[in-house]
């Protein structure tokens, strides 16, 4: 499936801003299931400095700075991506989760060694006893890891209320775990906290989800939204046979270590929708948690009160003839 994703972030300031610096994680990364065909970030007013670099996770990061006085800022990213849904793994045939954990910590190949970073607590996801307790309900001894992970996602889906009013960007994970409500990025943090509490490696994924209007109704402009979910790392030799080939083929963007040593697999879970990665999930960036891949963040001088509005459109493109 091919999509055209447009993500526009608009800031309106109460008084003029004299200088701003900003970094954006807006360009979709290359993954085994996704090719980013083109991507452009436009900033208005025209930035004095605009640079792109790749961060430690392999995401593309855009830095820009505006040095002229401005009362509004618009950052707009337009990308075209081609997505193929990974074949669903045979969860019941996957190895026991304890074995996966052992393998993760004993594997010597760089891909697995580098994945261990994602088994550690991170700034927004500190170690939580509550997360371990929650996880152990699904991760019973000897249970196949993907079966347990699938159930964990389903429980987050059913046991946590989706409530945009209940949490904010700064709501701590402990509160989300305790109150059992939040939005997609909260649910992603919950899932990651549970998997890490078990000693498994899990990472945060930010991206988009195509939404379809109810049958017979036109799609509204700007009504799509940025999205977030999480992925579990499966070290290569621990993965059981029926994994699709595409998943084991390492790509430069994924491991950053070249193609020679065996590479593991990241299995994506969307706890907000109780589903695995599908054709409608578009991946932008990955990190330890939200803080590593905030779509747009920045610092400005002056400005006073400011307002933020975001519009996202995910449109299907006709397949190339």
């Amino acid at each position: 499936m091919r999509f055209r994703v447009s993500h526009t972030t608009h800031y309106g300031y109460g008084s003029p801003v004299s200088l701003c610096h900003s970094i954006a994680h807006l360009k979709p990364r290359q993954t085994p299931h996704q090719r980013c065909l083109r991507s452009q970030v436009r900033v208005s007013p025209w930035p004095s400095v605009s640079r792109e670099h790749t961060d430690i996770f392999g995401n593309r990061v855009n830095y820009f700075s505006i040095q002229q006085s401005h009362a509004a800022l618009e950052v707009s990213a337009v990308s075209e991506v081609e997505v193929t849904a990974p074949a669903a793994p045979d969860a019941d045939a996957s190895p026991p989760w304890e074995q996966v954990r052992l393998r993760l910590h004993e594997a010597r190949e760089p891909d697995a060694v580098n994945a261990r970073m994602f088994a550690l607590p991170s700034p927004a996801i500190p170690a939580q006893q509550a997360a371990l307790d929650y996880a152990l309900v699904s991760f019973t001894p000897g249970r196949p890891v993907l079966a347990a992970a699938r159930e964990l996602m389903a429980r987050i889906y059913t046991e946590f209320d989706y409530d945009p009013a209940a949490t904010g960007v700064a709501t701590p994970l402990a509160e989300v775990l305790d109150q059992r409500h939040g939005v997609c990025q909260d649910f992603a943090h919950v899932g990651i906290a549970c998997l890490r509490a078990l000693g498994l490696a899990a990472r945060y994924v930010s991206g988009y989800l195509e939404t379809l209007p109810p049958p017979g109704q036109p799609k509204l402009r700007g009504a799509d939204a940025s999205h977030a979910w999480y992925a579990l790392y499966l070290p290569s030799q621990a993965s059981s046979s029926p994994l699709p080939e595409t998943q084991t083929a390492p790509t430069a963007g994924e491991s950053g270590q070249g193609a020679e040593p065996p590479a593991g697999t990241w299995i994506d879970y969307d706890p907000t929708n109780d589903c695995l990665l599908g054709e409608q999930h578009i991946t932008t960036a990955v990190g330890r948690d939200y803080g590593d891949v905030t779509p747009v963040r920045g610092v400005f001088y002056g400005g006073g009160e400011h307002r933020l509005s975001v519009a996202v459109d995910v449109d299907r493109l006709e397949p190339r003839v």
Binding site: H21, T54, P164, S206, V310
Partner: protein, 866 residues
């Protein structure tokens, strides 16, 4: 502990008998067999010759120098944030040259090794990929700054400045107990220790052939120049400090001066066009390299700690773009992970192909199963260091001594280690070696830690010969704190041959009077200088008024309204009440008050630190403004500031109970304030910064004078009393002698106004202030695109014109009612308001600090559930 009296100890020819090191630890001066180590012989002989009296004299001299130079260390946890004098032991630590050479080789190797680790961790991470360093150790440590990965560094030694804390084991072998790779502090104190000790023990120093320190700092300057981007021969380097509240602020200012770098704070800087700039008066000056004394995670609120108020948004990007070099490189704090030591021997073999020369403390990183098992089994015998952790914020470790934990605390610690093993490191507890220290008139062995400093030169690391030795303040302290503080010792590495004397700049530059280069006066510095000028003048005017009033009061025998001269005293008290929001009771006709009535309130205005507008607060504000531009003031000027602070402490510490006692302090205080003015006039380059200090002084003097004249002359005092008032005003304005010379006949208001208002040649006159101000404002930097005259220039011109056109005869004339001088009141009020407007105009034009940066609201990802 020996019971020998200090006097006996030092007068005794057998000095070494009284010096008894604790058994089982290595002592620097005395060998295990009780003999004096030979390289101490000369020092011990010298001390014997000096005797106790001689040592005391030199010790006092050292303290005087330290106090005069304002060497301070602000200990954390001091609620008032007051800095205290740096403590220096008069006895140097002596190290043999040959022994030092061996230690130096070990330090150089260690610096190279740590540097190689740093390069790898922020680059290819092969040490992690190859399993030489566990990712849990590195990636789980808050000091490893992910945004700094791959930002690139200038040169091949991002670890530009390296500090190692050293002690000896019981056999005398040196051991590293801590690596300082973030922003090692102490080199400035080491330098100051040397300056002081070589002055109080000149012949001992000269004859001991001590290796000099200046070469090390030259190396640091070369390193910074070489690392700066671009090929400008003279790179613009700034030393970045967290600010005057920082514990080691003295050192930051001291080093900035010594190295010739601009001392900057984050708020002075701005990133534009992908490069770093210093905000100066109306301009931006490019900064090529930063020697930072701010921890790396605080350097950039855009990419590093968002809550930092000390950094510059965009700094990481300026480095990434290759437009700025920061030393040490951003992210170098990762090397301070105490658990890294457990891996260094193997890393040394892998990276450098050689064995680690210099041993360090036995270290166990609990992330390794076998280490963890050992640590849990031996918790009571080890020192536990948490290696940061996301849950408690920063990497600041709290060291726990296993033996001092009770069973419950030990169990809790064990549980924590089990839960997050990668966050815990254990080390053996060492018994630090001891060195002789002069304490309370005797020489005692005390544990010490030596901090060594290395700098990355072109062809490798160079080590400062010696370093900063710090001594525990009590004999039983298990380990000297890694913080500074305690007692400092100069460290002498004894050469076999004498070295040529040399300093950094060819001159004895640390002692030179003067101020820094022309072009880098930041807005913040100009602002502070302006207020130094204002506070100094305000304090001087206030002291003069207090003095004249107090003398007037003490000369009287009663305080009744019908007394002769009481009208004059009442007028002075009113002026005082107005100037410092006082509430001194005035003499009244119907209630003949006791003479003592005004005294308590008057004393309170002189001594109470809590009173807004009173003398102590004014002096304190002066001290604080001076402290925040410490590096701009010459050492002579700084000595005067220290004198002023000493007077302040005398006034507030043990407040005088009588006016006479207060006068005994006010007299030298006024002298110090005058000396301060004279020094800024004579010893400061008349550059941009000076213009602001001077403008502040002129404005304040003008405003004070106008206020004084208004409160003393507007109400007409009948009869001869007026003459007394005129005389008092002349006293406060220090113009009495001129007046008497010029106006032979009596004291008249008109003559007074002529002398202190319109006389453009009298440095105490209003006209003189405005005329000076006019020249100063004309010389201040201008926006070439701006209007012909700035707001401040227009204001001064208006003031000057009104002043010159004023008719003094009319102003001196009372109104028809004979009670007031309405025209004078109007004139003085206009002048005061006009000067306040000029002050505001200068503030708006030059001191407008850019607002605090704000963070953009972040969008919450909130895809709707399907």
């Amino acid at each position: 502990m020996s019971a020998t009296s200090p006097l006996a100890q030092l007068d005794d020819a057998r000095l070494d008998d009284a010096y008894v090191p604790a058994a089982g630890s290595f002592d620097e001066m005395r060998a295990a067999d009780g003999g004096l180590r030979p390289h101490w012989q000369y020092l011990v002989d010298t001390l014997r010759q000096l005797g106790r009296g001689g040592i005391e004299t030199r010790w006092r001299e050292a303290h005087r120098l330290i106090r005069d130079n304002g060497v301070t260390y602000n200990l954390h946890g001091d609620p008032r944030g007051m800095s205290r004098p740096w403590e220096l032991d008069p006895l140097p630590l002596l190290l043999r040259g040959e022994e030092w050479a061996e230690l130096e080789r070990g330090l150089i190797q260690r610096a190279e090794l740590l540097n190689a680790v740093l390069l790898d961790l922020y680059g290819p991470r092969t040490l992690i990929a190859q399993g030489l360093l566990p990712p849990e150790l590195v990636d789980g440590y808050p000091g490893y700054l992910l945004p700094c990965h791959g930002i690139g560094v200038a040169g091949d030694r991002p670890l530009v400045f390296y500090g190692a804390d050293l002690t000896r084991d019981t056999d005398g072998g040196w051991r590293v107990i801590g690596d300082r790779t973030q922003t090692p502090s102490g080199a400035g104190y080491a330098l100051e220790n040397r300056v002081v000790l070589s002055r109080v023990m000149p012949s001992l120093f000269r004859d001991s052939h001590v290796h000099r320190l200046a070469g090390f700092f030259r190396g640091l300057r070369r390193a910074m120049n070489r690392l700066a981007p671009g090929d400008a021969p003279q790179a613009r380097v700034a030393l970045m400090t967290p600010g005057p509240a920082n514990a080691a602020y003295f050192e930051h200012a001291y080093l900035a001066n010594y190295l010739g770098y601009t001392l900057v704070q984050g708020a002075d800087l701005s990133v534009r066009d992908g490069a770093l700039w210093l905000r100066t008066l109306g301009r931006l000056e490019r900064i090529d390299a930063v020697l930072r004394r701010v921890d790396d995670c605080f350097c950039d609120p855009l990419e590093l700690r968002e809550d930092s108020m000390l950094g510059v948004p965009g700094m990481v990007q300026a480095v990434r773009a290759g437009n700025l070099t920061v030393a040490n490189a951003l992210g170098s704090g990762v090397l301070e992970h105490p658990g890294l030591m457990a891996f260094l021997p193997e890393l040394c073999r892998q990276l450098l192909g050689e064995d680690l020369l210099l041993p360090h403390l036995h270290t166990w990183w609990c992330g390794r199963a076998e280490d963890r098992a050992y640590v849990l089994a031996n918790l009571g015998a080890l020192v536990i260091k948490p290696a940061g952790g996301h849950t408690n914020g920063g990497p600041g470790p709290r060291v726990l001594f296993g033996r001092s934990l009770d069973a419950g605390a030990r169990d809790r610690l064990a549980a924590q280690i089990q839960a997050e093993p990668h966050r815990f490191v254990a080390q053996e507890e060492v018994k630090p070696s001891t060195a002789p220290v002069y304490v309370d008139g005797r020489i005692e062995p005390r544990p010490f830690v030596l901090r060594s400093f290395s700098v990355a030169e072109d062809d490798g690391y160079a080590v400062m010969p010696g370093g900063l030795s710090r001594v525990a303040l009590s004999t039983d302290t298990p380990m000297v704190s890694s913080q500074l503080g305690g007692l400092g010792k100069d460290t002498w590495v004894l050469a076999t041959e004498p070295e040529r004397e040399e300093t950094l700049l060819g001159l004895h530059d640390t002692q030179s009077t003067a101020i820094v280069r022309e072009s880098d006066v930041s807005s913040r510095v100009a602002d502070n200088l302006f207020w130094i000028g204002r506070y100094a003048e305000r304090a001087e005017g206030l002291v003069r008024l207090l003095r004249v009033t107090a003398i007037n009061l003490t000369a009287r025998s009663s305080f009744a309204a019908e007394d002769e001269g009481i009208g004059c005293l009442g007028t002075l008290l009113e002026a005082l009440n107005e100037q410092c929001h006082g509430n001194v009771p005035l003499p009244t006709a119907d209630e003949p008050a006791a003479l003592a009535a005004p005294t308590p309130e008057l004393l309170s205005l002189i001594t109470d630190l809590e009173r807004v507008g009173a003398l102590p607060q004014t002096l304190q504000a002066l001290g604080q403004a001076a402290w925040s531009v410490r590096e701009r003031l010459s050492s002579d000027t700084w000595r005067v500031i220290n004198d002023i602070e000493r007077h302040l402490r005398r006034l507030t510490g043990q407040p005088p109970r009588t006016l006479n006692a207060a006068l005994n302090v006010l007299d030298p205080l006024v002298t110090s304030l005058v000396a301060f003015s004279a020094l800024t006039q004579e010893n400061m380059t008349h550059n941009e910064g000076w213009h602001f200090l001077e403008a502040g002084r002129r404005l304040e003097r003008g405003m004070n004078l106008a206020a004084l004249l208004r409160s003393t002359l507007v109400n007409v005092i009948p009869g001869p009393e007026e003459g007394l008032v005129v005389e008092a005003v002349l006293g406060v304005t220090d113009s009495l002698i001129t007046y008497r010379r010029r106006y032979q006949s009596g004291t008249r208001v008109g003559a007074l106004l002529d002398l202190v208002v319109q006389d453009e040649a009298n440095p105490r006159a209003l006209a003189y202030q405005i005329l000076s101000l006019s020249a100063l404002v004309d010389d201040m930097p201008r926006d070439p695109m701006g209007p012909t005259r700035s707001a401040a220039q227009k204001g001064v011109l208006r003031l000057l014109t009104e002043l010159r056109l004023a008719g003094l005869d009319q102003l001196a004339q009372p109104d028809a009612d004979g009670l007031h001088r309405g025209a004078l009141a109007q004139f003085l009020t206009d002048q005061e308001n006009g000067m306040a407007e000029v002050s505001d105009a200068l503030t708006a034009q030059y001191f407008r600090h850019e607002e605090h940066p704000h963070h953009m609201i972040e969008h919450r990802l909130s895809a709707v559930r399907r």
